[in-house]
């Protein structure tokens, strides 16, 4: 055993030094972001053109470092996973110059080659421009969006070539797996994880070490470990980014998980809507297998573990452990009642551990750096960092990572660069709320801006971290519409099994529709509240239980807004068109009386040839008068 341990350690060391030596022979490295966002904006074309043009101009270009190739290169041109700042993509970083080019189009490539690569000049117009000062910033380290973050799990995402196992190894990759397999007992691995205080990043925050320890105690020969990559929250793409940007970290995390629990087979469950993530994780699994890190007798240790990649059909509910288990077994993805939990009886009735992508990606770093080092990040109860998908009315949107305990204020106003008002200008006073945790989560308002973001602090105010979606909303946002948006999602994504979730969410949507259409009454609100608590308390699985959260939370924080809709038939933000008053412009009105005759509820009055007026209380906003008026004097909204 020790012999193989030494051999493996030596091998890893050799591969690392070979890779580093090869890297030293390269003059410049250009990393083109090939995350889904940048690809959609044409980054692959930029990549191709960069390669062709550089070669035409006589530069030696390689797109993968071959350690055996001893010739020096001018350019190492690689893809990366998501670099985070999707809003200004396609992104391109050039090192050692420390340049970040933004919004790069194929047309810009010629200039990049001639100016930057050949003449070593920075192209100003491609640099990031700070929206508040309008000054340019040369590289990531100068940009608040980046330098206020603390990238831990995402450290290599957007930097390394996700398809090059050698680069992963050169950064210390697979040494943590080696360490757990040769230098540690399963119990020690569990202990180390417990000591690190790592909590599951999928939403509930269950301590990973304890989960593994429970699985280790199960007296079954066959056990399974599943990597839950069924990221389904609207607007969330943390797991996708990790799978696309650093898939080997997930593979290594699973190997360590298998060592800790005794699982012999692992599944990576990724939704088929993430084709790039599927390709990259497949490639990573294959390369790891070729390198002897997966399969029978891993690294000559006698430990067997292999990974299969399973594509899900995109049902939100398959993110729930028992539904995922059912889906992997080829059945319909529907949660089943617990007990027994999946940890006791999961895949094929065998103990099955389900861990989130981000959780698993953290594991190798915790093992290699040690639990104590990890605990230095974050808070006592929630050690480490958390990735968030920051979107909505903020200046900077994208994928971010901050230590637990960071306040919402720092995230929104510093990393996010401030709140955008209705017109798109930065105006922090326009801040209204942040929706956190996706369709299972709730809203945080200005009173929560200074609460540290961690599992326990958020739990104490009835919110949750969830999987990490952060949608910032300005004061032009109607909270009833927000609740409606999430409810539309949940009712469609309910698996349809239990009555409260299937029927209840449809009815909640129906009640919200009534409110938005101006047909709500006080009874609508009380019925909605009763229904919310019924769905939350009597649904079968966690998804159903949390489905009413967006409604409950908006109702709790913004009750007066709901009441305005219901009692005064007014949408304060003017987003609910049925509730926008219809008014007559006294200047344009000729007093022709056509409108009085078209109004079905006699809400318009006025003398002939004199400006008419609409009684807002009688008006049902049908708009009949608007279409009858020949003078364009009637419109929706205040005159």
């Amino acid at each position: 055993m020790d012999g193989s341990n030494t051999a493996v350690a030596e091998n890893l060391k050799t591969r690392t030094s070979d890779y580093n030596a090869a890297r030293d022979r390269v003059k410049r490295r250009i990393v083109v972001c090939a995350g889904t966002g940048c690809i959609a904006n044409g980054s692959l074309k930029v990549f191709e053109k960069l390669k062709n043009l550089s070669e035409e101009k006589g530069l030696s270009v390689t797109i993968r470092l071959e350690p055996c190739d001893k010739h020096p290169k001018d350019v190492l041109l690689t893809h990366s996973g998501c670099q985070g700042f999707c809003q200004v993509g396609p992104l391109l970083t050039i090192d050692p110059d420390g340049i970040l080019y933004t919004h790069v189009k194929p047309e810009d490539v010629e200039e990049i080659v001639s100016e930057t690569l050949i003449q070593n000049k920075t192209i100003d117009r491609l640099l990031y421009r700070d929206p508040s000062t309008n000054e340019t910033r040369k590289g990531k380290s100068d940009i608040t969006f980046y330098n206020r973050q603390q990238r831990f799990v995402l450290q290599s995402c957007g930097v390394v070539d996700p398809e090059d196992i050698n680069e992963y190894i050169s950064n210390g990759g697979y040494d943590a797996a080696r360490k757990t397999i040769f230098d540690m007992t399963p119990e020690q691995v569990c202990e180390e994880m417990k000591a690190s205080g790592l909590r599951g990043r999928g939403g509930a925050g269950f301590p990973t070490g304890r989960k593994w320890e429970l699985a280790l105690r199960q007296k079954e020969n066959e056990k399974y470990i599943i990597c839950n990559g069924d990221e389904g929250d609207p607007g969330a793409f943390m797991d996708r980014s990790v799978l696309e940007g650093n898939p080997h970290s997930v593979v290594e995390g699973m190997i360590i998980g298998s060592r800790a629990t005794g699982a012999q087979t692992g599944y990576v469950y990724v939704r088929a809507e993430y084709p790039l993530a599927v390709t990259r994780i497949r490639r990573a699994v294959e390369d790891a297998r070729k390198a002897g890190f997966l399969g029978k007798d891993i690294m000559g240790s006698g430990h067997n573990f292999d990974i299969r990649v399973m594509e899900g059909a995109g049902a939100f509910v398959c993110g729930e452990a028992s539904a995922m288990v059912s889906s992997i077994m080829g059945n319909r993805g529907m949660p089943r009642p617990k007990p027994p939990r999946s940890a006791e009886k999961g895949l094929w009735e065998k103990p099955t551990i389900v861990n989130n992508v981000e959780t698993l990606a953290l594991v190798p770093r915790i093992i290699s750096g040690g639990a104590a080092e990890f605990r230095k990040l974050g808070t006592a109860g929630s050690p480490g960092t958390k990735t968030f998908a920051l979107t909505g009315h903020v200046a900077n949107t994208g994928l971010i990572e901050v230590p637990f305990g960071t306040t919402l204020r720092e995230i929104v106003f510093e990393i996010g660069g401030g709140v955008l008002d209705e017109k798109g200008n930065i105006d922090n006073s326009a801040f209204k709320a942040v929706q956190i945790g996706g369709p299972s989560g709730g809203c945080l308002t200005s009173e929560h801006l200074d609460i540290p973001m961690d599992f326990d602090s958020l739990g104490s105010i009835g919110a949750m971290i969830g999987s990490g979606g952060l949608v910032v909303m300005n004061n032009s946002t109607c909270m009833v519409q927000i609740a409606h948006f999430f409810m539309q999602f949940t009712q469609r994504e309910s698996c349809g099994k239990c009555v409260p979730c299937r029927e209840g969410t449809q009815q909640l949507l129906g009640l919200l529709n009534e409110i938005i259409a101006g047909n709500g009454t006080d009874q609508t609100l009380s019925l909605m509240e009763e229904l919310c608590s019924n769905v939350a308390d009597s649904s079968l699985c966690g998804l159903g239980k949390s489905a009413p959260s967006p409604v409950l939370s908006t109702l709790h924080q913004f009750r007066e807004e709901y009441e305005a809709h219901v009692s005064h038939k007014v949408c304060p933000t003017g987003q609910c068109t049925s509730l926008v008053p219809i008014t007559i412009d006294a200047v344009l009105c000729k007093g022709c009386t056509m409108c009085t005759r078209s109004c079905p509820v006699q809400a318009i009055t006025g003398e002939k040839k004199m400006p008419h007026v609409i009684d807002a209380m009688k008006c049902i906003k049908c708009g009949a008068c608007i279409s009858t008026c020949k003078f364009n004097a009637i419109k929706r909204g205040q005159a």
Partner: protein
């Protein structure tokens, strides 16, 4: 687990109950539920059986195992309000045509709504009306009444191993459907109807054929004969407040005559004939040592199941027609001419406990000159509705006897209605000398079967006959598998699709009495013991029939013509195909490539690609047609490709193109 659970303040001992619901029922509390059935897997979806556990959490009692020291409350204000709301939610999207609904009398949703005190539904319907599935001759599905409790789905897959229906779509779109949105009539449904029997509402009901029967009865040009299956006599009375453990055959005879039936016969006579024919068929096979064990063929759901799922076992099925069809054949043989002389048409109507019998009569092989041996099948419940419609006070009727000779059956014929009855009847036939009184041979009837499978051995040595009696098709599947693998020995295998046998058929009255099957089985048992003649060979009319009508021995040519049939392999899903290259009038070769899951995974997509490429390259689209077909059900040998009349197994692009070239050159 032992100990006590406190239920609403009263300690209740834990005595092996798997869940709180069973324990609560033991404490004389009726906990409402739609989706819990003790014989099906727990599903936990209707959320009505909610209870408060230890003053903290609320959970569905059907899924929580009892633990010593637990304290539960079944009726707190919160729980009552949650139950009511969940019922309201169901009601909002349930088509409420209660007064005209088939299940008006026996609807669990209606019953629970009344019991939970719901007088108002505060929610509006959110779903558009969907079309009914009228494509099956046995069953009608109405998705608008479905509450998605999944009872039918689990019954079909867990008890019957058929899996003809399952959930499709998500959220509000979720519904129970056969594969690919097809009709029940086009898939592997065996028509046992247990889905309808277990359905708490009228989302699946037996097809109502009473209109056709009324029409025949009202037609002066028709002579209408009725035959009554054994299990009907112990269940029809349930509709009229009579006990299930009495045979009401005499009253049924009276009622049928009052309804206008010209003749009334007993299907149990057909059962007696089945015993004779099947026993002789068995002895013949045993002598030749072929096609053993023999599987019974009385149950039409089992026969269709075998045709779909066990084509290799079809030679082992007895070729005997079912008692119903035997009766149909011999009644037509006897009375067609008589009726014709009077310028009338003779038709047979069966009263059956079974929905699969409705399908059986549509089999082309069970018809003469295109006319079915039995024209209509009505269920026990349908007959009850006709009697009610005619205003007949069934309970007060005086009994009459059936028409002879085919209205007289031995006790052996009557016990056919119970699972194990066929075995018992055959055992009596084999054990008893002709004319002997005959007593019960097997004690199947009184026993609760272990796993739905019972076995017995008659005789010994060379004469040993090993009988296996199975109920439920999942059990049948298991037995067939065990026999194929040499893990079980048997000479005669009796299969009844419905648990309990015909008395538990889906055409019987819906009952929520857990002991109902036992009561009906006791009813048949009593009818059997009340008979002086309890063996088939003691039935003088059987003997007379062979002497005067058949004019030969069992198994002779005429007996075969009237009393036997044949079977053939049946696809589980009707033809589904996608035409990729359509040939023209000069078409020479038609290629069909299976793209079912198994063949697809084994590379049928590549074969299709190679084919279309070749056709493009060679410009032969006029003379070759390519069709992607659905599963050929030859998955083990996939990919399966038909090139002209040749079937290629384990096909590859090369082998298909080679065969195509060969056939093109030949033509």
């Amino acid at each position: 687990m032992s100990g006590f659970v406190t239920v609403d303040g009263i300690p209740v001992p834990i005595e092996g109950e798997k869940n709180l619901l069973a324990l609560i029922r033991k404490a004389n509390i009726d906990i409402p539920t739609f989706c819990y059935h003790s014989h099906l897997s727990t599903y936990g979806a209707c959320r009505l059986c909610l209870v408060e556990i230890n003053g903290r959490e609320i959970d569905a009692s059907c899924v929580v195992p009892p633990k010593d020291g637990m304290s539960i409350k079944t009726s707190t204000p919160k729980i009552r309000s949650m139950r009511r709301m969940n019922l309201e939610l169901i009601l909002a999207n349930h088509k409420q045509d209660c007064p005209v609904c088939e299940r008006s009398e026996s609807c669990k949703l209606r019953d629970l709504s009344a019991k939970m005190g719901i007088h108002e539904v505060r929610f509006k319907p959110t779903k558009a009306e969907k079309p009914k599935d009228e494509g099956s001759v046995s069953l009608v599905r109405d998705p608008n009444k479905c509450i998605l409790c999944g009872d039918c789905v689990r019954y079909c897959s867990e008890i019957q191993a058929v899996g003809a229906i399952d959930f499709v779509y998500r959220g509000g779109e979720a519904e129970v459907s056969p594969a690919f949105g097809r009709s029940l009539g086009e898939v592997g449904c065996v028509n046992c109807g247990q889905c309808a029997a277990v359905c708490p509402t009228a989302a699946i009901v037996p097809r109502n054929d009473t209109g056709k029967v009324w029409a025949d009865l009202d037609n002066p040009k028709k002579v209408v004969a009725a035959q009554i299956a054994p299990a009907v006599r112990v269940a029809l009375g349930e509709h009229f407040g009579l006990s299930s453990n009495e045979s009401e055959l005499g009253k049924i005879g009276t009622a049928l005559r009052m309804l206008g039936f010209d003749k009334v016969y007993d299907t149990a006579f057909g059962a007696d004939l089945t015993v004779v024919e099947e026993a002789n068929e068995f002895l013949e096979r045993k002598k030749k040592g072929e096609n053993l064990p023999i599987f019974t063929s009385c149950c039409p759901a089992w026969v269709k199941f075998a045709e779909h799922f066990f084509p290799d076992a079809l030679p082992n099925l007895s070729t005997c027609k079912s008692p119903q069809s035997m009766m149909g054949a011999l009644l037509h043989d006897q009375y067609d001419k008589e009726a014709e002389k009077e310028g009338k048409e003779f038709v047979v109507v069966s009263v059956m406990p079974c929905t699969a019998k409705k399908f059986e009569i549509t089999r082309p092989e069970l018809s003469i000159n295109g006319k079915p041996l039995v024209s209509h099948v009505i269920t026990t419940s349908e007959l009850a509705s006709m009697i009610q419609e005619a205003g007949i006070r069934f309970a007060d009727l005086d009994p009459v006897s059936m028409d002879l000779p085919m209205g007289f059956a031995s006790g052996a014929g009557i016990v056919f209605g119970n699972a194990g009855g066929v075995s018992e009847a055959v055992a009596r036939y084999v054990a008893g000398a002709p004319g002997s009184g005959g007593s019960q041979v097997l004690n199947f009837i009184d026993e609760v079967p272990e796993g739905g499978i019972r076995t017995a051995t008659l005789g010994n040595g060379d004469q040993k006959i090993r009988i296996v009696s199975v109920q439920g098709l999942a059990n049948a599947k298991r037995v067939v598998k065990e026999i194929t693998e040499g893990k079980r020995e048997a000479d005669i295998v009796e299969v009844m699709a419905c648990p309990g046998g015909c008395i538990g058929g889906a055409g019987q009255p819906i009952s929520y009495d857990p002991d109902i099957k036992y009561k009906r089985s006791q009813g048949l048992h009593r009818a059997d013991t009340a008979k002086q003649l309890r063996t088939t060979q003691s039935n003088p009319f059987v003997d007379q029939y062979y002497r005067e009508i058949i004019k030969g021995d069992p198994g002779c040519h005429k007996a075969h013509e009237l009393l036997h049939t044949h079977y053939s392999y049946r696809k589980r899903i009707g033809d589904l195909r996608i035409s990729l290259v359509s040939g023209n009038s000069k078409e020479k070769v038609a290629v069909k490539v299976c793209v079912g899951t198994n063949c697809f995974l084994k590379g049928s997509q590549e074969i299709l690609g190679a084919l279309t490429k070749k056709i493009d390259d060679d410009g032969i689209s006029g003379i070759v047609s390519v069709t992607a077909t659905f599963c050929k059900e030859n998955c083990g040998k996939g990919p399966t490709v038909h090139v002209g009349s040749k079937v290629l197994s384990h096909a590859t692009p090369e082998s298909v193109l080679k065969e195509l070239d060969l056939q093109l050159n030949k033509n």
